[in-house]
């Protein structure tokens, strides 16, 4: 369970998860849609105000950004950089997911190891990992592998912790059922463990997704010649404000869209009780 008021897989994480209640009755949904629309308008208005007030020195106003973006999306340069980020991110996320799931399962099943490891992992989660980035660069050199390593550094821990928590919180009665049914270890994991833990695991993957992306982007922002993070910092260095604003917009939209999609997926595969 990962609800805001339910038991968190591990401490502190409950606060990063907000459960949406059941599908709401239509009048409330309509009001909410309207209010969201109002909110979006407010944000756009604020954006416009800041943009024009600073005369485009800091932020490019919404419409100009949109125009610039549509042009940008037609350039080869943009997609070249986007592909670089995407490649690094996908590899980082994949690695984080595979290693994280494996470690999480291991630590969840082997209680002692899990109890030893958990505070270490949780502690690692709270430190500014960006300070370790130079070490990553020294070890991996400049380039793709450093970015991937940095992405994994960010994404691995939450996936591990969530998986660990999910397995650990598994109701013992389910394991006993498996034993009574004479299921092999493999089948117990596949038929009982994974479906029961799916909700929390998906939550962990969702957070790992965002954090792997963050890791890759920071890596690019600090020291890279390719990628959206680089474009962002470079745009700023060259006082190309529309470019920077456009890149920020792209990242924000992609991040929120991906997160929402994964939230929906999570709710669809593992429906929660009220």
């Amino acid at each position: 369970m990962g609800g805001a008021t339910g038991a968190a897989p591990f401490e502190g994480m409950s606060d990063l998860l907000l459960e949406d209640a059941q599908p709401r009755p239509t009048p409330r949904r309509r009001v909410r849609a309207f209010d969201t629309f109002l909110l979006v308008l407010t944000v756009l208005a604020l954006w416009q105000t800041i943009g024009s007030w600073t005369k485009g020195v800091a932020v490019s106003p919404p419409w100009q950004t949109l125009v610039y973006l549509s042009g940008l999306l037609r350039t080869w340069m943009f997609w070249d950089h986007a592909a670089a980020t995407l490649a690094a991110f996908l590899l980082a996320f994949l690695l984080s997911a595979l290693i994280g799931l494996a470690l999480g399962l291991l630590f969840g099943v082997r209680r002692f190891a899990g109890d030893v490891a958990e505070p270490l992992l949780a502690g690692f989660y709270t430190i500014p990992k960006v300070t370790l980035y130079p070490v990553v660069l020294l070890i991996f050199g400049l380039g793709l592998s450093a970015k991937i390593a940095f992405g994994v550094m960010h994404g691995l821990v939450p996936i591990t912790l969530f998986t660990l928590g999910a397995v650990r919180n598994l109701s013992p009665v389910l394991i006993r059922t498996a034993k009574v049914l004479h299921l092999s270890s493999g089948r117990t994991i596949l038929w009982i463990l994974v479906p029961a833990c799916l909700g929390d695991i998906l939550n962990g993957l969702r957070i790992g997704f965002s954090l792997s992306l963050l890791g890759v982007l920071i890596g690019e922002m600090f020291s890279s010649q390719r990628g959206l993070g680089f474009l962002l910092v470079n745009g700023m260095a060259q006082h190309n404000v529309p470019l920077s604003t456009a890149i920020v917009t792209v990242i924000v939209v992609v991040a929120i869209a991906a997160n929402t999609a994964m939230l929906r997926l999570g709710r669809w595969t593992a429906p929660r009780p009220a």
Partner: protein, 253 residues
């Protein structure tokens, strides 16, 4: 030995073992000294730099920024959380936003903040607040949600004034979850500020690390790095232990 002690023992053993292993590898030359310096050297460098006072300005700068961001985040977060809690309509709109908030890497706004506010403390503070405040908001909402309605009825039966209802019932009842948010806020503010300094700044510990890296001064870099990480671990650990103490009373047995 009791299981609890065994766990702590193994944990310390793993940490100590890793450090010793690293030390040996570095000294033996298995690891290139240009890449990683031995842990003992890192420690010595940290002591030197802190002791000689050459880090004082950076320490002051970074710490003051973090504290400022932390305090602002708490103030804003609790206030916003309380206001949102009072208005179900506002909450309906804000809830999904908060749920997705931390999927957006806040650091991407940092260059824009610098362009807007200049290269000083302001963008760092804003970055810290942007990172930390939503966690406080979420935990304030959660804390207020978790107050058993019977306790509010109790306040009315005892004829408590609104101020007393708040300080005698609402606050203590919401405190555990609120405290978790404060704990997160500190670590997020710290991460946000240090990351900002690292990426783009002129002062502060994050900048020092980045500068040392770019100047190929490994010793200085690792010394500062160790200092920052130690502070992060200690401050977070302290809040974590405090939170544990608060929680234990309420949930023993």
């Amino acid at each position: 030995m009791k299981r609890r002690h065994a766990i702590v023992f193994v944990r310390i053993a793993v940490l100590a073992g890793s450090i010793i292993f690293l030390e040996v590898c570095c000294r033996a030359g298995i690891i290139d000294p240009l890449t990683v310096i031995p842990p003992s050297e890192m420690f010595a460098s940290m002591i030197d730099r802190v002791g000689s006072g050459e880090m004082n300005a950076s320490i002051m700068s970074t710490f003051s920024t973090i504290v400022f961001a932390f305090v602002l985040a708490i103030g804003f977060g609790i206030l916003a959380g309380a206001l949102i809690h009072r208005s179900p309509r506002l909450r309906d709109v804000v809830d999904p936003l908060l749920a997705s908030y931390y999927s957006v890497p806040t650091f991407i706004f940092y260059p824009l903040l610098v362009a807007l506010l200049g290269l000083g403390k302001a963008p760092l503070v804003v970055l810290g607040v942007l990172s930390a405040a939503p966690a406080v908001m979420i935990s304030t909402l959660s804390g207020l949600d978790g107050i058993s309605p019977v306790l509010i009825k109790l306040a009315r039966v005892h004829r408590l004034s609104p101020a007393r209802t708040f300080s005698w019932i609402v606050l203590p009842a919401a405190l555990p979850r609120l405290f978790t948010g404060l704990k997160l806020a500190l670590s997020y503010a710290l991460i946000g500020v240090i990351a900002g300094e690292f990426i783009l700044s002129g002062t502060g510990l994050g900048y020092d690390i980045s500068f040392a890296y770019q100047s190929f001064d490994n010793r200085a870099m690792y010394g500062t790095m160790l200092f920052v990480l130690s502070i992060a671990v200690i401050s977070n650990g302290f809040l974590y232990a405090w939170e544990g103490r608060l929680a234990r009373r309420r949930s023993r047995g």
